[in-house]
């Protein structure tokens, strides 16, 4: 473990910039909204910014991206297929632990199953990840309920924790260690590590007071979601509130459904694009020729919560699919962000409880 002075912490990012495209939390000035995005300058990185609006999946699995290009000349019958090029290796600096858990879910899903998703792999390989411990939760947070925070436990190259004057740097990989050694950073002592434990404990203790927007007692519902012992009226109540916008899937760090479309360009070349999709859409499961196996909204909602909160899906992710970031709650035009759904299911709420 190493130490770096607080006002020098961005030097790590500067070092990374030499070999990586650096992504980090940056606040957009006009809207005041934080994004995890490619930085114009590492000095724009704000480690104290709130949880970025956009989940980090946008770095490894962009909202819309070209996965293949081809051109077919029907007259000459000539086909020219081009794979996508390898983007520059990426580094994420200042990732929150919930979002790291999201990337881990995606890794296990895209890379750890029968087939490896080669496009995802292009983004993900050679990536350098620097996480940042949350010393205090935000109002929307419930990572304490989903075992994904406030400090990352694994999967990072370096993990930063603000312990007062300095950041404690925990090393999670050889790559991380090399970087610290190359920069000649000071080694930390046992007292620093003990200080980190205190910081994390304090952060956890403050959830009761700070993280007031959401609670999700997910351990109480995972069994019921897996087995399906939930009154249909509960799903109906949830389904009635679904506006079918897809937002919950788009902002979820672990949602990975996508759609593929071929975009014809004016010069007859075609870009095969893939983009985020959502199982809440009616057309999502539609098959050519008038057959839609999954129709009512409550069925489609049900599918997403199954994905986030069932044991069987957790087997794929090696953890619950929900990472406790709270984004789905603030983008939902209905009132069915995941924490609320957990409450509805847990308490079998089937209608509005006015002035609860």
């Amino acid at each position: 473990m190493f130490l770096i002075k607080k006002n020098e912490v961005l030097k790590l990012a500067q070092e990374l910039e030499k070999s990586y495209a650096v992504y980090g939390p940056v606040v957009e000035k006009e809207s005041g909204q934080a994004f995890l995005t490619k930085v114009d300058s590492v000095n724009d990185i704000d480690l104290n910014a709130p949880i970025p609006a956009l989940p980090p999946k946008s770095v490894v699995f962009p909202q819309i991206e070209k996965i293949l290009g081809y051109k077919y000349d029907r007259n000459s019958k000539n086909v020219d297929i081009k794979m996508v090029v390898v983007p520059q290796a990426k580094a994420i600096f200042g990732l929150r632990s919930c979002d790291l858990a999201g990337i881990q879910c995606l890794d296990r899903f895209f890379l750890g199953q029968e087939f490896v998703d080669d496009v995802y792999l292009l983004h993900r390989k050679q990536m350098f990840i620097v996480t940042n411990t949350c010393t205090k939760p935000f109002a929307q947070c419930f990572c304490a309920c989903t075992d994904s925070g406030p400090s990352a436990k694994e999967g990072y190259d370096l993990n930063l924790t603000d312990i007062g004057d300095s950041y404690l740097i925990e090393v999670g990989s050889d790559k991380g260690k090399e970087l610290c050694e190359k920069m000649g950073l000071q080694k930390s002592e046992a007292a620093h590590a003990a200080e980190k434990v205190k910081v994390v404990d304090k952060s956890l203790d403050s959830f009761e007071k700070e993280a007031v927007e959401n609670k999700a007692w997910i351990s109480r519902v995972m069994n019921r979601i897996t087995t399906g012992f939930i009154k249909p009226q509960v799903w109906e109540f949830i389904g009635d509130q679904c506006f079918e916008c897809g937002a919950c899937s788009f902002v979820c760090p672990s949602c990975s459904c996508f759609n593929i479309e071929d975009f014809n360009k004016p010069d007859t070349a075609v870009d095969r694009m893939r983009e985020w999709d959502s199982c809440s859409f009616e057309g999502y499961t539609r098959m050519a020729g008038d057959h839609n196996p999954r129709k009512p909204i409550e069925d489609r909602r049900n599918k997403r919560f199954f994905c986030k909160l069932s044991y069987s899906q957790s087997k794929k992710y090696l953890r619950p699919g929900c990472v406790g970031c709270g984004r789905c709650a603030w983008v939902c035009p209905g009132d069915i962000g995941l924490p609320n759904v957990v409450t509805y299911v847990r308490r079998e709420i089937t209608e509005r409880e006015i002035n609860e």
Partner: protein, 668 residues
């Protein structure tokens, strides 16, 4: 920073978003959490706006029709040709029409309107889409002097009582629907008057599922109930308003005993709603001003009901028409109407005309113009100038085909170019600065985010070019300069300056000396003179039973069918959603209740023939408990249905959302 703040350009809600700009292309969209209206939410359209903006299906060069074929030309050639032809029209006040787009920015609409009036000397400048908006504005202007939503979307959460009349709001303006739903979750009482069980009806505390065509009667019954039980706000009526007696009198002819049979809603239910409304300290009414919006009389009843209940003119209150298109409100604000100049100023007002004439250095045509669609129907028109593809143009395709000369300004390729003699490309809304006024009078500045496609000019530049060719000298160096001129001529916009748009959320007009930062709502004290009850008809005839045509058929919009698909067909996911329904009901559908399906002996997706006194169409049935027995609902869903069947019912459709067509439904 790849993400740039902006405003969604689909419906009139005015949601904030951030667009991801990568390599000069829009490659993503994200909701704006700090935006006062949308607060981090977007609907399915808004979430896919990047699919539309990034399309390559663009107009990339001016085109002139030669020997029946469109051929590339330079801007100079195309503009010269257009001006020469348009100037050649002898009686522009009768023969020339300008059809504006409710999606263009305020600046572009203003210049387009100025072009029509000051350069080409015609007041025939209009939009047709969503004409219900004009009816709403008329009522509100007559009553309060404010031609815009009286309340504010931001204040929905402060309304203790919310009345939704008709509109399928969670589908058409989902984020406003969401605000209403959130208010309901926090304890507000939501009442929906709708003949169908729409999503908002399901989310409401009380759903008054009235018979088709009886909304007005129901609203009148509520007003009558308020007054008779002395539950109205007598102090407010006395202090701020005039015309109460007249309104109360017109309710006299409504016979209490008839209400239930006319509306299908029980007296107890109405009494419960009346009680809720009177007990609430604050209340808002919402209705669609859309293509299927309400007629002026019904809107007048909503307005009068809220005045008599004392629920306008203060925080958390208001009568709120909802615009279905991004800059519909702004388009009227900019005087895109045959009889209006900016800010709802009448063209017949001598002072106003003088003011504009002086500022523009031109004489304006003095007589009111005519609606371009009326002129098309009357076959008087010779020349037509169109911006974007107006969705209702499909109804007039033949008339347009017969015109001498058609100019088209637009960003995207679309079928309308096939009717045009000159096509002049303009940039999309992300390629230029511009302000947009959403449904709650919120003026928002959308910055330029990407470079225009090579060689393409922004709308405001192109219109200046046209003016210059026609000999008028306009000297705008930027959209900001256009706004400065608008502000100087428009009392409600007098305080608007580009410098004031800091951060997000915009400015709600009136923005003037009294409210330099804008004002969220109509305040009772601001009315010129007293707030007026508007005159209403005392006609409470319900739809009559007809044994030959026993079903009362309503028309409306289908989910996933927005903007006639002109925009949506360039998207993938929203278009797929439309196609999903299309696959299920390839010929469109008519909704009927399960009981009726049983009596006609049809099942879901079976074909039927819908016969009205004027015509018939073959569609499939969608059997749903969302409509009541003896009612039927047919959504605008595929083009053939609109042009072939509904066209025949033009007069009926002009009654707006509450128009009903008596039909018979036969098994095929």
């Amino acid at each position: 920073m790849n993400y740039k703040a902006g405003i969604c350009n689909f419906c009139g809600t005015g949601c904030g978003h951030l667009l991801n700009v990568e390599d000069g292309k829009i490659s993503g969209v994200f909701p704006s959490r700090n935006h006062p209206v949308s607060k981090g939410r977007l609907c399915v359209r808004g979430w896919h706006i990047h699919e539309l903006i990034r399309t390559d299906d663009r107009l990339t060069t001016p085109l002139i029709r030669k020997n029946g074929k469109l051929e590339s030309a330079s801007y100079d050639e195309a503009v010269s040709f257009a001006v020469e032809k348009l100037k050649g029209i002898k009686k522009p006040s009768e023969e020339l029409g300008f059809l504006a787009s409710p999606r263009s920015s305020n600046e572009e609409n203003y210049l387009f309107m100025k072009l029509a009036r000051s350069v080409f000397k015609t007041n025939n400048v209009s939009i047709q889409s969503e004409s219900g908006q004009r009816e709403s504005l008329n009522v509100l202007y007559k009553g309060t002097g404010m031609a815009g939503m009286l309340g504010s979307i931001e204040e929905i959460k402060k309304a203790e009582f919310i009345l939704v009349v008709g509109t399928d709001i969670t589908k058409q303006n989902p984020i406003i629907g969401s605000e209403i739903h959130m208010a309901a979750m926090n304890g507000s009482t939501v009442v929906t008057i709708c003949s169908r069980k729409s999503q908002i009806a399901k989310l409401s505390d009380i759903h008054l599922q009235c018979k088709p065509g009886s909304k007005k009667i129901l609203l009148a019954a509520m007003a009558k109930g308020l007054i008779e039980k002395n539950l109205h706000d007598a102090d407010f009526v006395q202090k701020y308003t005039e015309g109460f007696e007249g309104f109360a009198n017109s309710l006299g002819s409504l016979n209490d005993g008839d209400i239930e049979s006319l509306t299908g809603v029980s007296a107890q239910q109405i009494a419960a709603v009346v009680k809720n409304l009177s007990e609430a300290k604050t209340a808002m009414a919402f209705f669609s001003s859309g293509i299927s919006g309400l007629d002026e009389d019904t809107i007048s009843y909503i307005y009068n009901l809220f005045v008599v209940a004392g629920k306008i003119g203060k925080e958390g209150c208001g009568v709120n028409p909802i615009a279905g298109i991004a800059n519909l409100q702004g388009t009227y604000d900019m005087g895109v109407a045959p009889d209006l100049l900016t800010g709802f100023q009448s063209i017949k007002d001598a002072e106003t005309a003088k003011k504009f004439g002086k500022a523009w250095g031109a004489d304006l045509p003095v007589e009111n113009g005519k609606d371009v669609y009326d002129l098309l129907a009357a076959k008087k028109l010779k020349g037509l100038v169109v911006v974007d593809h107006d969705e209702l143009i499909v109804r007039q395709q033949k008339a347009i085909d017969d015109l001498d000369f058609v100019v088209y300004f637009g960003a995207f390729n679309n079928p309308f170019t096939e009717l045009a003699d000159v096509v002049i490309p303009i940039g999309t809304y992300v390629e230029s600065d511009g302000t947009f006024t959403s449904t709650d009078r919120r003026i928002q500045l959308s910055h330029r985010k990407v470079e225009p496609v090579k060689g393409i000019q922004a709308g405001w530049q192109v219109y200046s070019m046209v003016a210059a060719k026609a000999g008028a000298k306009w000297n705008y160096d930027s959209p900001a300069a256009v706004m400065a001129e608008i502000a100087s001529l428009t009392p409600n916009y007098s305080g608007v300056k580009y410098d004031k748009f800091k951060g997000i959320g915009g400015i709600q007009w009136p923005c003037n000396d009294k409210y330099p930062q804008g004002c969220p709502r109509f305040n009772a004290g601001d009315a010129k003179g007293k707030i007026k009850f508007v005159s209403v008809s005392a006609n409470f005839k319900g739809a009559e039973k007809n044994t030959e045509f026993p079903y009362l058929m309503m028309t409306g919009k289908a989910q996933h069918f927005w903007h006639q698909n002109n925009l949506m067909r360039r998207t993938f996911i929203p278009m797929r959603e439309y196609n999903a329904t299309l696959l299920l009901y390839p010929k469109g559908y008519v909704e009927i209740s399960p009981e009726d399906a049983k009596s006609i002996q049809v099942r879901d997706k079976w074909p039927v023939k819908v016969v009205s006194p004027y015509g018939s169409m073959k569609v499939t049935v969608k059997v749903t408990p969302d409509v009541k027995s003896e009612s039927a609902y047919v959504p605008y869903f595929i083009r053939d249905m609109i042009s072939e069947f509904l066209m025949e019912h033009k007069e009926l459709l002009e009654q707006g959302e509450d128009a009903i067509i008596p039909v018979r439904i036969e098994k095929v």
